[in-house]
């Protein structure tokens, strides 16, 4: 296990290299003088010349790439709009994004796993139908539409929650009031798909012989469900959560836009409209790194709950 973990962490290095090279390559496709693109339209001749020097723009591509990465890490890469080091700009927006993402993830798991287990155990009950219908709507409704409907209900009609914005850290009352709606909206899709997968994998497992054996031995029903069945159903659930994390990222960008949440996703989208290419590079790179790390954690967790996985 330890060996496997170390190998997986070492494998991150080439992966991150390819990812950064790919983002660099995509942004290289921008038509026009790269120095002007990096500086914005109102750059002077002198600064353009300086930028060419700084980013090695008259050198071959691989040197440009290395220069770009070096500038990125040393903080030389400046956002056009904020006139500040790209890493700092992104990191400032990171806390709201992480608060939103983790609250949504935890909310989704806390609601969907019990809901899925109950649906499977009490199959064809009213609860089962209700939660499956809700889940079906959950995977079909656009994130931003849920958001707009909730804003209309809670902010425009009932006036009990703020319509948008960030209320400070999530450990303050105002912070929680602002966080409630966006976190719920973001978690809704994940919640829906996890409920569905929990139900179906629980149904598969409950048919197994060892579950019948456990019941025949007279094991308590709650132990059978949680100890014998759920433990084995956990694998498809984990796989699904891992697959859904990319969708959670997409959802985060949309949710941040609907609720004017000052996170990295919205920063990236705004950077496109402001033609702030260095900032786009920084946002996409940093978010991709987070995504890769989260995925690695899911994979390691998968190995942890399923000792049958071979660590090749």
């Amino acid at each position: 296990m330890l060996n496997y973990t170390i190998r997986r962490i070492l494998l991150l290095i080439p992966l991150l290299f390819f990812i950064s090279a790919m983002i660099f390559g995509i942004l290289k496709l921008t038509p026009g003088d790269p120095a002007v693109v990096l500086l914005g339209d109102r750059a002077t001749e002198e600064s353009i010349e300086l930028t060419r020097e700084k980013y090695a723009l008259n050198k071959p591509l691989h040197i440009q790439y290395m220069k770009m990465m070096a500038n990125f890490f040393t903080g030389e890469l400046q956002s056009i709009y904020y006139k500040e080091n790209v890493i700092m700009v992104v990191l400032k927006r990171m806390i709201p994004t992480l608060e939103l993402g983790f609250t949504a993830l935890i909310l989704a798991l806390v609601v969907s796993i019990p809901a899925g287990i109950i649906s499977a155990v009490k199959r064809n009950s009213i609860f089962d139908y209700a939660s499956m219908t809700t889940a079906l709507f959950g995977i079909s409704i656009p994130v931003f539409f849920t958001g707009i409907l909730l804003i209309y209900l809670f902010a425009v009609k009932l006036r009990i929650l703020p319509a948008s914005g960030y209320g400070g850290s999530m450990f303050t009352l105002d912070g929680i009031r602002h966080l409630l709606m966006p976190a719920f909206v973001l978690s809704f899709t994940l919640m829906a798909s996890t409920t569905r997968i929990t139900r179906s994998s629980m149904l598969d497992v409950l048919k197994e012989d060892y579950v019948r054996t456990a019941r025949a031995k007279g094991v308590k029903e709650s132990t059978v469900i949680l100890g014998h069945a759920f433990k084995n159903a956990l694998m498809p659930i984990t796989t699904n959560v891992g697959n859904q994390i990319a969708r959670l990222f997409a959802g985060a960008v949309l949710t941040e836009t609907v609720f004017a949440w000052p996170g990295v996703g919205r920063l990236a989208v705004n950077a496109i409209f402001r033609r702030d290419e260095p900032l786009v590079f920084g946002c996409v790179l940093i978010l991709s790194v987070i995504y890769v790390v989260v995925n690695l954690m899911v994979d390691l967790f998968y190995g942890f709950i399923n000792p049958r996985v071979k660590y090749e």
Binding site: L15, F18, I19, M22, I23, I26, L27, K28, L29, T30, P31, L136, F137, I139, S140, I141, P142, V143, F144, F145, I148, L149, I151, Y152, V156, S193, R196, I197, S200, P236, I245, A246, F249, A250, V253, L254, T257, V258, G265, A268, V269, A271, I272, F273, E277, V280, F281, C283, V284, L287, S288, Y291, V292, N295
Partner: protein, 349 residues
Amino acid sequence: MNKIIIYMTILPGIGIFYLFMPSSLLLLLFLPKADEDLISYGAFGTLTAILFIISIAMARHRQQKKSLQMRGAWELMWRRLARNRTAMASMMVLIALIYLAILAPFITPHDPLESDWGALSQGISSTHWLGTDDMGRDIFARNLFGIRVAMGIGITAVFLNTITGTFFGIVAGYYGGRTDNVIMRLLEIWNSIPFILLAIAIMAALGTGIGKLIIIVSLSNLMAFARIIRGSVMAVKDLDYVSAARVIGISDTVIIVRHIIPNCISPILVLSSLSIGETILIIAGLSFLGLGIQPPMPSLGGMLSNGQQFLHENLLMSVVPGVTILMIVLSFNLFGDGVRDALDSRLDS
């Protein structure tokens, strides 16, 4: 039920195909600059072509007596699908929506782009069935044209995605070894950046546009297709009849086309019908962010983003496109579930 659907598809499908297909092809060929016309006719052409293919397939499948085995498989699938009431109901909704999209100019007298300055932000009335937006444009008309664009781009993107994903999957699975390794590792790297971030990077570099949108979205799901098709290719490629074909000297291309692809049809069908709904959600999301279909061209996501600004004054502006997206995606998801159950494939959602 079965017959109703066949008649609903075949009769108007063929008529519309012969009426409009030539004109849409001509427009595609000779008016490459008229972006809006191009896309609406392109979408229109794609949809009619698909309907036409479906109707031909159904008609053929009723008459065809020769290839008993193929006929058996298709008929079995269709019978299982027809027994699934939810799937049939969602298919009816989809066919109805496709007709609404195709016949949009004949259903509503209003132009989706034209402002009626005497009727800004109105509610439901007899002239404007679902009211007007902040610029006095008819919401019903915009919604119909929005459905047309969403379906056209969504289906085109899934079609391209299926072709490219299947191609990679077949090449990787059939040739195996180093080819397989290279293709799968490259796709893994491609997959290790969340799609939305790739879209943001590409849009930042190249700007927005319908063509770019289709291409970007059609690359979103490559990995899922390639991985599953690769699996089913590897399951067949060492079967006796494939080895026999190879031994008598049939070329790889012919083997792939005649023996491998027919064996991959069911995962291809299941995956592509399951991914249409999601693709339409992605397009709506990008349009909502302002990175997809650009205003003034009507798009469901763009209408919602506009509607959010006027939430206090006019709820219809956001509810109409929102419910429409929900309806389209829900129907595609239910239909996709039905196809999966009918093909009894071991793919899980």
